[in-house]
Amino acid sequence: MALSKHIKDKLDKLRPNFPTLQALVIPALHEVQHETGMVSEDSMRDIAEFLNLPFMKVREVVTFYTMFNKKPVGKVHYQLCGNIGCWLNGSDKLMDHMEKRLKIKHGQTTPDGKYTLSKVECLGACGSGPVLQVNEDYNENLDVEKLDQLMDDVFKKIDAGENNIGRETYNPEVWP
């Protein structure tokens, strides 16, 4: 397997922006994750080959940063902030609620592969906590009611077969 043409084109476009090839590792990983939902070992190898780097240089980056999924995630990745700003506003109750509704613990993916629930550290939106990141989108000032509403919406969208849930602002032509 090799990197898709789309990713290669994008990286080629980004190449002049940086003095070294290595600087493209993180952009490349972002692109791969966007395309496949995760960063597999194969894709790390592909990136290393494309950027002419030792495999370890890519792997150590992947394992250092938390945003890269090393395992497959659901179609919808719920990431609920559990840090102080959100916690003070009751994010732990929301987490309980979500775990009950999705019937999984945080850190797990539903058996149907639709949802992954994660607890994350500060998302940088403490003033509007609790914050739930649905794929790319922030959903702020949540309470149980709003959360239910949100999860219902997501459920409907998945049912309708929508592919870009929480990724509406993505434009394949534009970096980032």
């Binding site: 290595q22 945003m67 003070l88 509007s128």
Partner: protein, 444 residues
């Protein structure tokens, strides 16, 4: 007194992030002025403004810029390029101001960066934005594209013969990349581990070249300084800390959010402006400058939110994010949550920080669960004293700040946990799962 607003004047207006809106409100005029007066005069003006870095350390910006070498050359005598980096890796719990600037006022950041590039002679700039800010990165990118189309970026900007390219670079989820040298490593596509200093970024920065790193807010207020003059900006603040600042209030207040206020504003005033403690409850503690700042008790909040006064009070103004905790909060649990964060975010290079942050995190979970001993409190002090000031970067100090202040100022709460063998004041039904820390909370 009507407070002067620099960055948040128009944030409630529709489409305030667009270039058209920015231009209609006098945008990019400061840039023209910058080209007229030249590098030295820009730095002079910024020095006069008493602008201090808004990222947390409060280093005088003008001085930082003047540290940049004038005509650096490499070993062979060829001129080296200089880089400008904007630190938009906002991740300090309690701080969320940069996101607002980038989404509502991106052109002030871009203009500020071009002016700074003129001042320090940089040919390229990178905005290192945290990876989770997808939308903000896109807004910023389209703002850059717009600015380039109008000639505010790119080659021969506004006929000044200066070239400056600006790129957005997305991080990937590491708090430590907010530390400037870790950020530079990350920008180079490496693990975000802080570098040994010296050499400082002004000598050896991004890609080995002299680099100037500033916070989003720092860059964003520069156009104002050039437009209205340094002294005017300085007059908005205190003697040593010029200007207004975006203060973030989060936690248990009626109206959490971002407030642009003078640096003279006291912490009490800030909390009052944010509507006071939610539900009319009593105030228990405030973390005044982002999670890394030592806590203040309800009786210690009558101090201005400037760098020096905060320092004097034994805490720090940091990134200007006040986290307010009411009487309902268990300090042990709150500290424990902060520690879980630090344990998760330590890069793991230095022995003290790697082992210490975890040790403390585990210990606090134990104490919270009522399994602490009286000896633990002395242990905490000792662990903290062995961590603080001993590592490559300031992360270890950031860990110990809230912990030590919590143990010292709220000692009775810790003792109650030990004595009663449980948390006496549980507002939440859940406790932190010790297993969670073991699992490393490594994301799936």
């Amino acid at each position: 007194m009507m407070e002067e607003k620099i960055l948040t004047k128009h944030i409630n207006t529709l489409n305030c992030h667009t270039l058209d809106f920015y231009l209609a409100n006098g945008g990019y005029n400061s840039l023209k002025k910058a080209f007229e007066i030249g590098s030295d005069a820009i730095i002079e003006e910024v020095k006069k403004s008493n602008l201090r870095g808004r990222g947390g350390a409060g280093f005088p910006t003008g001085m930082k810029w003047s540290f940049m070498p004038k005509n650096p050359v490499d070993a062979k005598g060829n001129p080296k390029p200089k880089y400008l980096v904007c630190n938009a890796d906002e991740g300090e719990p309690g701080t969320f101001k940069d996101r607002l600037i980038m989404s509502k006022n991106p052109h002030s950041l871009i203009e500020g960066m071009v002016i700074a590039a003129k001042a320090v002679g940089a040919c390229r700039g990178y905005i290192y934005i945290r990876g989770e800010f997808f939308k903000e990165a896109r807004i910023l990118q389209s703002a850059i594209d717009d600015a380039r189309k109008k000639g505010f970026l790119g080659k021969d900007i506004l006929g000044s013969k200066m070239d400056f390219e600006l790129f957005v670079y997305r991080g990937a989820g590491a708090y430590i990349c907010g530390e400037e040298s870790a950020l530079l490593n990350s920008l180079e596509g490496k693990r975000g581990e802080p570098r040994l200093k010296p050499p400082f970024p002004a000598q050896v920065g991004a890609f080995g070249m002299p680099t100037c790193v500033n916070n989003v807010e720092t860059f964003a207020v520069v156009p104002y300084i050039l437009e209205h003059g340094g002294p005017k900006f300085a007059s908005l603040g205190t003697e040593k800390s010029g200007g207004t600042r975006l203060f973030c209030v989060s936690g248990q207040v009626e109206r959490p959010g971002i407030y642009e206020l003078s640096m003279r504003t006291t912490l009490r005033e800030l909390i009052d402006i944010a509507g006071g403690v939610r539900g009319g409850k009593k105030l228990k503690a405030v973390i005044p400058g982002g999670a890394s700042a030592p806590m203040l008790t309800a009786t210690e909040i009558d101090i201005p939110m400037c760098f020096d006064a905060m320092m004097k009070a034994g805490t720090m103004a940091g990134s200007g994010g006040a986290i307010v905790m009411s009487e309902d909060v268990c300090i042990v649990e709150a500290t424990s949550i902060l520690l879980r964060f630090y344990e998760h975010e330590s890069c793991g290079q230095c022995s003290q920080c790697r082992e210490g942050s975890h040790w403390l995190a585990r210990m606090f979970v134990r104490i919270e669960a009522g399994k602490g001993t009286h000896k633990d409190l002395e242990m905490i002090e000792r662990i903290c004293s062995n961590m603080a000031g001993q590592t490559i970067c300031a992360f270890a100090d950031a860990v110990t700040g809230p912990v030590l202040s919590a143990v010292r100022k709220f000692r009775s709460e810790f003792e109650d946990h030990v004595r009663q063998r449980r948390c006496p004041q549980k507002i939440a039904s859940r406790t932190i799962d010790a297993m969670e820390i073991d699992r490393g909370r490594a994301h799936v």
